[in-house]
């Protein structure tokens, strides 16, 4: 149901590096779970509305007023790398 090339494609979408051994294992394990999930394909759901939220709610909006937020130094204190008051990352194109 899912071949190695598809596993590699999905891993790229998920920004997840997988070793060849992980690709092998993932193909087998995902196939097993997808077989189980495929049982919902048998149900007649043509006239059924999808549910994304189970409890009836209306838009929950707060007043749009300025208020203090997390100070910059607090936001940066757990960062792996900091430069010029921001999060430092490797160049997008090395």
């Amino acid at each position: 149901m899912i071949d190695h090339e598809e596993v590699r494609h999905v891993a790229r979408l998920a920004r997840l590096q997988l070793s060849e051994e992980e690709v092998d294992r993932m193909a087998v394990e995902l196939a097993g779970v997808l077989d189980h999930i495929a049982t919902i394909a048998q149900l007649d759901l043509d006239d059924v509305e999808p549910t994304s939220h189970v409890v009836a709610v209306e838009n929950a909006l707060r007043a749009d007023e300025p208020r203090p937020s997390l100070p910059r130094e607090r936001a940066l204190e757990s960062a792996p790398a900091v430069a010029d008051g921001g999060f430092a990352v490797p160049s997008p194109q090395a």
Binding site: A14, Q17, M26, V33, A38, T39, I40, A41, P50, P90
Partner: protein
């Protein structure tokens, strides 16, 4: 000292209020037990009691699942990718409980990002069950459940996405309640599946669950757009009979796949319900057998989106030596996530990817509608739905780690209520021998109610709890738990 340990959290709070017990002494008693425990239930334990211990909860200390962010205290969601992370803010529900007088005792072990049913998926090692240290405590809130069962904590906070409070409560012989979706703020809970995640109490008895829940719900939290103002206040239960109460037993969740010992304990408890005056009848939840399949589309899909934030940029682990930004992302996520989390990210990304969305995510959302409709129809005839909480008693460490689907089947009886967003409680209903032989282990009995019917649910669970008379005070391996 043992007399203090025998006090439930509510009794301890009353003793403090009456001046018979010192809150600082109570905190130190549990702090020392939590710091010295051998179950790997705690990942972090407070070093000192907090300065002020005022409030209606009397300073009775609270164990909190690792995934609740707590300012300045490790909050790792059981993951290597957040190892040592000390966040700059505190989850709303933890702050509310602290203000009410339940200070943080420690952070408890869990399956990584709450993905699992055994706590074996923690990056920090599995937690053992105090009833048998060769067996799992359930999961994902297994650290919280084991801590309460072994009296390492008076009570604990967990989260439930598809059964992660109720199933470990069942396997450890304690009470676990998943509230109505939206009743408790999710702000500061490290997200797994946002449309399902809900915080709830893990306690020694139903009264403690009611007392803790009372201070978890309340006004809407404007920091969580799905949080709702709770209609009314949670009362402490007192009901002793169940005259006029109608209980439905869904045939789909009470037959195939349930261990004989669990089924026997379940049926005895149904008889007790009748003895208490309730009517007990079979009912149908025709789409419940499809709940697990729908859940394993919806939850991984939401997880794959939620876990995109773990990219090595703002906090947590970053792989070193990356050649460029993309390489840094993919290697950080490769090293930082464990096997089950990778599996679910892959499953969710696949289900949401171009060409598959309608076949998987769209269909699963429609199944969710049918399941909610099944419950709505059942609640026209019944006040509560009863099932076993888990299909089996606690299993041996390692027994199901090689087969993801076998592990997922643990959630068979709890996932339908999660998809419907309704409250459900697990209470211990007796002991049963495991299928392969061995000492008898706790069995959980699950009662589910319509949305926001927590008070009625707690009353029924309380009456049943008194009739069952389960003694959870001395799990078999209590001595080993304390080292």
């Amino acid at each position: 000292m043992s007399e203090i340990l025998d006090l439930s959290a509510a009794q301890a709070a009353n003793a403090v209020a009456a001046g018979e017990l010192d809150a600082g002494e109570l905190f130190e008693l549990y702090r020392a037990r939590a710091a010295g425990e051998r179950l790997n239930a705690f990942l972090w334990v407070a070093e000192h009691p907090p300065a002020g211990l005022d409030g209606p909860l009397g300073g009775v200390p609270l164990a909190v699942k690792d995934l609740f962010v707590t300012e300045g205290v490790p909050s790792q969601s059981g993951s290597r990718i957040l190892e040592g992370y000390r966040p700059p803010y505190t989850a709303t529900v933890v702050a509310r409980l602290d203000a009410a007088g339940a200070p943080l005792l420690g952070k408890t072990n869990q399956d990584e990002f709450a993905m699992g049913s055994s706590t074996e998926n923690s990056a920090f090692g599995p937690t053992a069950n105090p009833w048998d240290t060769g067996r799992v405590p359930g999961g994902s809130s297994g650290g919280s459940a084991a801590a309460v069962a072994a009296r390492l904590a008076p009570w604990a906070l967990g989260t439930d996405t598809g059964g992660s409070i109720r199933q470990p409560a069942a396997l450890c012989g304690i009470v676990g309640l998943k509230p109505t979706y939206g009743a408790v703020s999710r702000y500061g809970m490290i997200a797994f599946a946002s449309s399902l995640d809900q915080a709830g109490p893990l306690t020694r008895d139903v009264t403690d669950a009611a007392l803790l829940l009372r201070h978890m719900v309340g006004e809407r939290d404007e920091l969580d757009s799905t949080s709702l103002r709770y209609p009314g206040e949670i009362s402490l239960p007192s009901r002793t009979d169940l005259a006029g109460v109608r209980v439905g037993v869904p045939v789909e969740l009470t037959g195939e796949g349930i261990e004989p010992g669990v089924l026997e304990a379940f049926e005895k408890t149904l008889e007790l319900l009748s003895t208490l005056g309730a009517s007990v009848e079979s009912c149908a939840l025709p789409h419940a057998p499809h709940a697990l399949a729908a859940y394993y589309v919806l939850a991984p899909a939401e997880a794959s989106s939620n876990l995109a934030r773990f990219d090595g940029v703002r906090y947590g682990y970053r792989a070193s030596g990356a050649s460029d930004l993309l390489d840094m992302y993919t290697r950080t996520r490769h090293d930082g996530f464990g096997p089950e989390v990778k599996r679910r990210i892959m499953l969710g990304t696949y289900a949401l990817s171009s060409g598959y969305y309608d076949a998987f995510y769209g269909r699963a959302q429609r199944v969710r509608t049918k399941i909610a409709q099944d419950f709505a129809a059942a609640f026209e005839r019944f006040d509560f739905i009863a099932t076993p909480t888990a299909p089996g008693v606690a299993f041996e460490l390692g027994a199901k780690t090689a087969d993801p689907l076998a592990m997922y089947l643990n959630d068979f009886c709890t996932v339908p209520m999660s998809l419907a967003g309704i409250p459900a409680i697990s209470i211990p209903c007796g002991l049963a021998g495991p299928p392969g032989g061995g000492r008898p282990l706790p069995v959980g009995f699950q009662l589910a109610a319509p949305a926001f019917a927590e008070n009625a649910l707690l009353e029924a669970a309380f009456a049943l709890e008194q009739a069952i008379g389960f003694d959870g005070s001395a799990p078999h391996d209590m001595a080993a738990a304390l080292g």
